[in-house]
Amino acid sequence: MLVIVMTSIDPLTLVLAIGTPLYLAAAVLYSIRAVRGPTIPDIILAVDCLSYDLAVFLSAIALYYKTPFMTAPPIMLALWVYLLDIYASKYLITREVGV
């Protein structure tokens, strides 16, 4: 079954080959804002958007490699991407994280 999948020319590769350059261009633009951003919230916002972008990307790669075992990393990335937001905001507001 797998050999048949490998040998046939499928439209999936075509779709991914059209779609991925858009996401990668967006990632490059986000990272330009991340390194240029004048204040801390700007940088964190850009890194967040980059991470959401890359969560899409990790799922697309799991589809591209045709394996069901590579689907857990995007879930995990999406779950605690906002941890840095919370820590940085708490530090900016109160200077001490635990109170």
């Binding site: 079954m1 797998l2 490998m6 490699y65 045709k66 394996t67 069901p68 075992f69 590579m70």
Partner: protein, 131 residues
């Protein structure tokens, strides 16, 4: 094309490692040394995984699903499990050791009031001389 990306991979990892070694040696802030240390260890982990990667189109993780005729497919297209197993423990141990270093940095700041490596040593030496 694959060869060029392979060379680029090695060169970029080497430059990353050199940059982080610069950060460890020449930056005076202890927190900056800690950040550089993690970047160095991450770079080394990625370069170990690169040893086990093969430049083929469908590369799959070395896990069996239960489909017939799968063993030949995995032997042909699976990535190397040995470097992955070696790195898996290393990442967690690295975090524990970094937590130990972080506690040390905080303690140095409590005792001397600075995280600058040279100034912290000077403050400590002065305290010893006064006694």
């Amino acid at each position: 094309m694959e060869g060029f990306v392979y060379v680029l991979f090695i060169v970029v990892l080497a430059v990353n490692a050199l940059l982080s070694i610069y950060g460890i040696v020449y930056r005076r802030s202890l927190v900056k040394k800690l950040i550089s240390l993690t970047i160095l260890s991450d770079t080394i982990f990625v370069s170990i995984i690169l040893v086990g990667f093969i430049f083929k189109y469908p590369v799959v993780p070395p896990v069996y699903i239960g489909v017939s005729g799968e063993e030949t497919y995995l032997l042909e297209h699976g990535s190397d499990p040995l470097p992955q197993a070696l790195v898996l423990t290393g990442i967690v141990i690295g975090l524990a050791v970094n937590a130990l270093i972080a506690f040390g940095v905080i303690q140095v700041y409590r005792l001397t009031g600075t995280t600058d490596a040279k100034r912290a040593i000077r403050v400590l030496v002065e305290e010893v001389m006064e006694e």
